[in-house]
Symmetry: C2
Subunit: 361 residues, 2 copies
């Protein structure tokens, strides 16, 4: 087991990364009150809920659970309210803990509920997908979607502790494992070309589910994100680099409807668009773009999105949170392994990059 600390001063917290982690031992110091509400979904709960309930019972805690339907399409205000209903009808107080047991959707919703219930209670994350292990479990971003945009409503909420157990990835569908690898690849593309080389060596074993290599990939990805988040918790500057591929990706997800493409799939194609535009701007070579597409394809991820009318694509992009004073900012690459955030690009080239990486209508 490896331990990574996210350095946020008084809100510093550990991420435990390994296989067959012992929740009773690892959670004991971090459940501060008596009451724990486990928030999970109807796919994950049958597999792992009992394991965590038992561990918390052994610690003498009062445990309740709230099981939501599985899927991004339920990441909305109505289903968030079900968590509040569960907390209040169980008589939970201000000293309770909300424990997220599931992927990114569960982590985001449970985290926002923990941030908002009684204006803030304790929060613990047990991410059960590769995507949430490398992405949503670090950084404190929580929230829900709105019909007009993704993650438009939320809060920054740091957990007490995160348990990332590779053994739980065994039950993850291959398509979701690949979606998680999209975010792993993102860390290489945005800040670590040596990690990109490592991924090119090991991508087939990672896709096949090698737990030791996955733990290493999760550790490296989380370490990257933790360093960036510690420098810029509220996304005033550097943290925006983590959105490489996301502005394009959000437009794809919004157009297709949440839940049709996985978030990681949309980000994968979004990263191709970002690489393509970076090439059109003279920053990446065509070989760099080919290398980007290659690692994404080998991770079994899409490098093109379906045909989307350009005006609709642009309209969804303009709802992205990276619009500042009405001006769109994009995360692009100055070179492989070095992302920048910029509003200084030719809009026509951006449109070309979008169109070039869509299927023909």
């Amino acid at each position: 087991m490896q331990t990574l600390y996210v350095e946020l001063g008084a809100r510093r917290y550990p991420i435990y990364i390994g296989s067959q982690l012992d929740p009773e031992q690892l959670l004991a110091p971090y459940v501060l009150g008596k009451q724990v509400m486990i928030v999970s979904n109807d796919t994950v709960a049958p597999l792992y809920l009992q394991h965590y309930e038992q561990a918390l019972h052994n610690l003498g805690k009062t445990v309740a659970h709230c099981i939501l339907p599985d899927g991004e399409q339920y990441k909305n205000i109505e289903h968030l309210n079900l968590i509040f209903d569960a907390l209040l009808s169980s008589g939970f107080n201000r000293d309770c803990t909300v424990l997220a047991l599931g992927g990114g959707v569960i982590g985001d919703m449970a985290g926002f509920a923990a941030a908002s219930f009684q204006r803030g209670v304790y929060f613990i994350q047990v991410p059960t997908t590769l995507l949430s292990q490398v992405d949503s479990s670090v950084g404190g971003k929580t929230g829900i979607n709105h019909p007009l945009g993704k993650n438009m409503i939320g809060a920054f909420k740091q957990p007490q502790v995160v348990l990332a157990d590779m053994a739980q990835l065994k039950t993850l569908p291959p398509r979701e494992l690949s979606a998680g690898l999209a975010e792993v690849i993102k860390y290489a593309l945005l800040g670590d070309v040596e990690f990109l080389t490592w991924l090119e060596q090991h991508i087939d074993a990672l896709v096949a589910g090698d737990e030791t290599l996955l733990a290493e990939a999760v550790y490296r990805s989380c370490a990257h994100k933790a360093r960036i988040v510690a420098n810029d918790e509220k996304e005033q500057g550097e943290r925006a680099l983590l959105n490489l591929g996301h502005t394009f990706g959000h437009a794809i997800e919004s157009y297709l409807g949440y839940g049709v493409w996985l978030h990681g799939e949309a980000v994968a194609t979004g990263m191709v668009m970002a690489a393509d535009l970076s090439c059109r701007l003279g920053w990446l070579s065509e070989a760099d773009v080919a290398r980007t597409k290659n690692i994404i394809q080998r991770a079994k991820l899409p490098i093109k999105c379906p045909a989307i009318p350009l005006d609709e694509f642009l309209s969804f992009m303009s709802h992205d949170k990276k619009v500042l004073n009405g001006q769109l900012r994009l995360v692009l690459m100055r070179q492989l392994g070095q992302a920048i955030i910029t509003k200084d690009f030719d809009v026509e080239l951006m449109q070309q990059a979008i169109l070039a990486n869509q299927e023909k209508a």
Copy 2:
């Protein structure tokens, strides 16, 4: 015009208190982005919306508005969502400002929307009731109600600036002015017996709407609250004293249904119960209780609540946020002008204090 600064380090902000304030001049330094969403209700908007829209237009801002129905019964997740709808359908970004123009309900909802929209945008408060001027405009508590409890979902969100204009109290119904005076009296009872004496001298003129005296009462109340909040922003300790009368009051409001009694009316009767229990515990004299009831009555506020079955009253009290690890804590008075928070009281005496201050069934 008087200016009071709430000292919260980087989130330090001014409250301007006076009559006929000039919003264009006072808001100019505090509206940081281009877009302002004014959130108001259908009672206040016809009176004051245009005045603030014009001032913001003069400052070169893009202004939109979201007008909610007036009343505590609309302080819920569905109406909160209307603010998000308005922000997104107007294409508002992360650098926008949400301006609350209204009473406590509008301030709480707009503040929570500002805390949550895009995980946090700027927030300005223009409280138009006495209650919100002395209470909800200081301290950063925002939120909405849930059918199982008041203010159960929310966030701490500090405004950039607060404008408290006494001239706007002219249009306030007398019943609401009295409800505001309940919170003013609260500051005297919890921490300033000299202020209580001042109120006893001026209560009739305050009830009659004297703007100079009201400004003084608002300034003194806000100064008390600002000092307490600066010491204890997240309500770990001293800040809980501000809840004098509120645990009883919340039970009254919850039982009657939100919006039947005004918040200040419920707090008024709650303070009588707190004084009564403090007397039963040997801390206040009967003369102190009589003095408490007298100032509340002279402010045209109720000193008894309708008959409420004790088990229901206690059940609503147990949903209060001041329950810690399952144990009810109450704000009581060691003497007039000196409140304490305690879990150390005889439950039977508490029940007597509740029953003694209800109408006969």
